[in-house]
C-alpha cells in the first residue's frame, strides 16, 4: 500500500468496481447472444453495435423504475439483501483479478495467503443473502425459491469447494496468485520436458474442471439447475417480488457472480492471465469469456431437472467424483 492514490484508482477504476461492472455487463451480452444464436435466434441486436449495450439499457431502466416494496415484505432483510447480493461478488472479484495485476507489476490490493478460502466463503454467503431475501419477500414463490436455493447449495457446495482445493494442493498454497504462478511454471517445465506425471496431473485437473463447471451451473442458477427461479414453475422464484433498483442490483449481482466464477475457473485451472504473444489483460478477457461461453452452451443443452433429481444426482455422482479427484491430486502431489 505504498501510494494511496494508486490504490484508490485501482479499487474504483481498474481493476476495480467500474471495470468489473462493465465487464459483467459485457459477459451478460456474450451469454445472451450466444444462447440466442444456439437457439437459432438473433438475440439483442438494435441496442448499440450488435446489441452490446442491451445489458446497460436494462440496468439503467431498472434503476430508474419504481421500486415497489410490498406490504408483506416491508422489512430490512428484504430491502438490504439485494445490496448484499450485489456487493459481495463485487468485492470478492478483486481477489481473483489480482493475478492479473501482479503480472503487470502492480501493487496487489487484496492478495494474501488463504484468499481462495475467502472467495469460496463469500460466494456461499451470497446464497444466504438470496435465501433471506426470498424468504422475507412475503410471497409464496419467493419462499419456495429461497428454500430451493438453499437446498441446492447443500448439494453443490461440497464438490465445488473440494475441486477448488485440488490446484491449491498441487501449488502448495491457498493464495490464488501463487496457484497461477505454479501453473505457469509447471506448464513451462512440462513443455520443456514432457513427462507422464504431467499428463496425469492434467487429466486429473480436467476432471476437476468438468465437476467445477457443473457445480457453477447450479451456483449461477443456469438452465438445468435453474430450479430456484424456474420461470414456468415458480415464476421467478426468490426474485419474484423485487422490482426497480433492487432488481437491477440483483441482476447485476448475478452477472458479476458469473464473471467471478469464470475468473475463478481461469485462475485455478487455465493459468490466469498468462499466455504467449498477447498481453496478459487480453488473455484474461479471452479466457473468462471462453468460460462464460462454455457455461452458456451447457445451459442451453438441457431440460430443467427437478429439485430431487438434482440433489440426488449431486450426492450420487458429483460428491464421490470430487472426493476421488482430490485423492488423486493428493497422490500425485507426492509424485511431483
Amino acid at each position: 500500500m505504498s501510494n494511496p492514490l494508486t490504490t484508490l484508482v485501482a479499487v474504483l477504476f481498474f481493476p476495480g468496481f467500474s471495470f468489473i461492472l462493465t465487464y459483467a455487463l459485457w459477459c451478460q451480452w456474450v451469454s445472451r447472444k450466444a444462447a440466442a444464436r444456439l437457439q437459432n435466434r438473433q438475440g439483442p441486436l438494435h441496442t448499440g453495435w450488435q446489441g452490446t449495450l442491451q445489458p446497460l439499457a436494462d440496468f439503467i431502466k431498472l434503476l430508474v423504475n419504481e421500486d415497489i416494496t410490498p406490504a408483506a415484505a416491508d422489512n430490512p432483510v428484504f430491502n438490504y439483501s439485494p445490496i448484499a447480493v450485489f456487493a459481495i461478488p463485487l468485492a470478492t472479484f478483486l481477489i481473483p483479478i489480482q493475478s492479473l495485476t501482479s503480472l503487470r507489476g502492480w501493487e496487489p490490493i487484496a492478495s494474501f495467503e488463504g484468499d481462495l478460502i475467502i472467495v469460496l466463503f463469500l460466494m456461499s454467503v451470497v446464497i444466504l443473502a438470496v435465501f433471506l431475501g426470498g424468504w422475507s419477500s412475503g410471497n409464496i414463490f419467493g419462499a419456495v425459491g429461497a428454500t430451493r436455493a438453499a437446498l441446492m447449495m447443500l448439494a453443490y457446495e461440497i464438490p465445488l469447494s473440494l475441486v477448488a482445493v485440488g490446484p491449491a494442493i498441487l501449488a502448495g498454497s491457498l493464495q490464488i496468485s501463487k496457484i497461477v504462478d505454479w501453473q505457469v511454471t509447471s506448464v513451462n517445465a512440462f513443455l520443456g520436458a514432457p513427462n507422464i506425471q504431467g499428463l496425469a496431473v492434467a487429466a486429473v485437473l480436467l476432471i476437476g474442471v468438468v465437476i467445477y463447471l457443473i457445480c457453477l451451473l447450479a451456483e449461477l442458477e443456469l438452465r438445468p439447475f435453474d430450479i430456484s427461479e424456474a420461470e414456468t414453475e415458480i415464476v421467478h422464484g426468490w426474485q419474484v417480488e423485487y422490482s426497480g433498483k433492487k432488481l437491477a442490483l440483483l441482476n447485476a449481482g448475478h452477472d458479476i457472480k458469473m464473471v467471478l466464477a469464470a475468473a475463478l475457473v481461469t485462475s485455478l485451472f487455465l493459468g490466469g492471465p498468462a499466455g504467449p504473444i498477447l498481453p496478459p489483460f487480453v488473455w484474461f478477457i479471452l479466457k473468462t469469456t471462453f468460460c462464460v461461453l462454455v457455461l452458456t452452451n451447457m445451459s442451453v443443452l438441457f431440460a430443467r431437472f427437478r429439485i430431487d433429481q438434482m440433489v440426488a444426482g449431486a450426492w450420487k455422482y458429483l460428491v464421490p467424483l470430487a472426493v476421488l479427484q482430490v485423492m488423486a491430486v493428493v497422490a500425485l502431489s507426492g509424485v511431483i
Binding site: L38, Q39, N40, R41, N139, I140, F141, V144, G145, T147, R148, L151, R223, P224, D226, A230, E231, T232, E233, I234, V235, G237, V300, L301, F302, A303, R304, F305, R306, I307, D308, Q309, V311
Partner: protein, 393 residues
C-alpha cells in the same frame, strides 16, 4: 407437517400460454382423494349469443371459441347446420375442409410439443419446434390468408379454393414438416432429461380412461382407440388411408408419442388430399336470411385435443334456437383428475404440467385436508419440496 399453511393470491400469470384455470385438491394425509377443477375463467357466453345471430354471423363466433382449434369448431358447426338444413356440399369443399383440419392438427400438436418442452425448462427445444412450426403457419397463411382463425369453412362449402399451381410447393413444405417431426420423435424418446420428466408420470390405464369418457390424444395415449375420424366418419375420412395412433404408455411420454406420430399421419393425409382432390365447385349458395327447416343434428369431429360435439336445434328461423358446443378440454378434465387421484401429493405438479398445457395453471392448487378443517393453497414448488420430504422419509 402441520405448519405448512399457505394461501397465495391467485393471479393467472404465466409466460407460457395458459388458460386461467385452477384445481382444488382434497387430500387425506398423503394421498390425493379428490381433485376439484375450477374452470370458467374463460366463459364468455357464446352459446347464448349464438341464439341471437344468424347462421352466417355465427360462423365467426364458433371460430373464436378457441383460436387453436378454430377450424375444427367451424367444421363441426357447418356440418351440424348443413345436416339440419339438408344442404349437400360439393365434393371439392369436403377435401378442402379435411386439408385445413389436418394442417391445423399439425400446427396444434407442434405447438403443444414446444410448450411441453418449455414446461420442463427445455427452452432450446421450444425454440426449435416453434421455428419449424412456422412452416405450417406459412402454409396456413398461404391457403387462407391468416395465421389463426382461417375463416375457410362456410355454410354450404368453403370460401377459398386450393390453387393447383401451388401444390408442388406445398408438398415440399409438408415433406419438411414430416422430416422435422420425425427428428423430434427421436429426440423426445431418447433424450435423457426429457425421459426423466415424462416416463411413468400421471399414469392412467385403459379401463379408467373408458370409464371417464376421455377422448383424443389423452385417451389414445392410454390405449383407447377413440378416433372419431375412424369411428363415425365425416367428410371424406372413410376414403382416406390413415392410421389411428394408439399407444398404451398411459403417461406423459405416451401423450408426446401420440401427438408427434399424429403429426406424421396428418402430413400423409394432407399429401393424399392434394393428390386426389377432384375438380369442381367449392360452395353452394347460402343466404344469411335463408331459413332452415325445423330439426336437430349432432355433429362429432375429431379436433386436435379430442372429441368435439356441436348440437344444434333449429325452430325454422334463420338463426339457431339452441346451439350446444362441448370442447374436448372439458371432456378430458375428469380423466386428468383421475390421473392425479390416488397418487401422492408429491407427484401432482408434473402430472398436470405433462398432461396438457391447456389445462395447467399448474401453480394454483388448493388443498383441503379431510379431518382438519382448513384450506390452503399449494404451488408446484411446494409440491416438489413436499415430494422430496415425502420420499426422503
Amino acid at each position: 407437517m402441520s405448519e405448512r399453511e399457505f394461501v397465495i393470491p391467485i393471479g393467472p400469470q404465466h409466460p407460457a400460454l395458459k388458460e386461467p384455470e385452477s384445481f382444488l385438491f382434497t387430500v387425506d394425509g398423503e394421498v390425493v382423494v379428490d381433485v376439484e377443477p375450477r374452470i370458467g375463467y374463460n366463459h364468455r357466453g357464446i352459446e347464448k349469443a349464438m341464439e341471437s345471430r344468424n347462421y352466417i354471423q355465427n360462423l365467426y363466433l364458433t371460430e373464436r371459441v378457441c383460436g387453436i382449434c378454430s377450424n375444427a369448431h367451424q367444421t363441426a358447426y357447418t356440418g351440424a347446420v348443413e345436416e339440419v338444413g339438408g344442404i349437400e356440399i360439393p365434393e371439392r369443399a369436403k377435401y378442402v375442409r379435411v386439408f385445413m383440419q389436418e394442417l391445423e392438427r399439425i400446427h396444434s400438436h407442434l405447438l403443444w410439443l414446444g410448450v411441453a418442452a418449455h414446461e420442463i425448462g427445455f427452452d432450446t427445444m421450444f425454440y426449435y419446434v416453434w421455428r419449424d412450426r412456422e412452416v405450417v403457419m406459412d402454409l396456413l397463411e398461404e391457403v387462407s390468408g391468416n395465421r389463426c382463425n382461417y375463416a375457410m369453412a362456410t355454410v354450404g362449402g368453403v370460401r377459398r379454393d386450393l390453387p393447383r399451381d401451388k401444390y408442388p410447393k406445398w408438398h415440399k413444405m409438408l415433406d419438411k414438416l414430416a422430416e422435422r417431426t420425425n427428428y423430434y420423435i427421436k429426440v423426445a424418446s431418447t433424450e435423457k432429461t426429457i425421459l426423466e420428466r415424462a416416463v411413468g408420470v400421471g399414469y392412467l390405464g385403459k379401463e379408467d380412461m373408458i370409464r371417464l369418457s376421455g377422448s383424443g390424444p389423452n385417451a389414445r395415449s392410454s390405449g383407447v382407440p377413440c378416433d372419431i375420424r375412424k369411428l363415425t366418419p365425416y367428410l371424406i375420412y372413410d376414403e382416406i388411408p390413415f392410421e389411428q395412433i394408439v399407444v398404451d404408455n398411459g403417461d406423459v411420454l405416451g401423450q408426446v408419442l401420440v401427438r408427434t406420430l399424429e403429426v406424421v399421419e396428418a402430413v400423409k393425409i394432407c399429401k393424399w388430399v392434394l393428390d386426389n382432390i377432384p375438380e369442381g365447385e367449392i360452395a353452394v349458395k347460402f343466404n344469411p336470411l335463408q331459413r332452415l327447416p325445423e330439426g336437430e343434428a349432432v355433429y362429432l369431429v375429431e379436433a386436435q385435443r379430442g372429441e368435439l360435439i356441436h348440437y344444434t336445434i333449429s325452430d325454422g328461423r334463420n338463426m339457431p334456437y339452441r346451439h350446444k358446443i362441448r370442447a374436448p378440454t372439458l371432456g378430458n378434465i375428469p380423466s386428468l383428475v383421475e390421473r392425479l387421484k390416488g397418487g401422492y401429493i408429491a407427484d401432482i405438479p408434473i402430472t398436470i404440467a405433462g398432461i396438457d398445457p391447456c389445462f395447467s395453471c399448474t401453480d394454483r392448487m388448493a388443498f383441503y385436508d379431510e379431518g382438519k378443517d382448513k384450506t390452503w393453497t399449494w404451488t408446484e414448488g411446494e409440491l416438489s419440496r413436499y415430494r422430496k420430504e415425502w420420499y426422503s422419509r
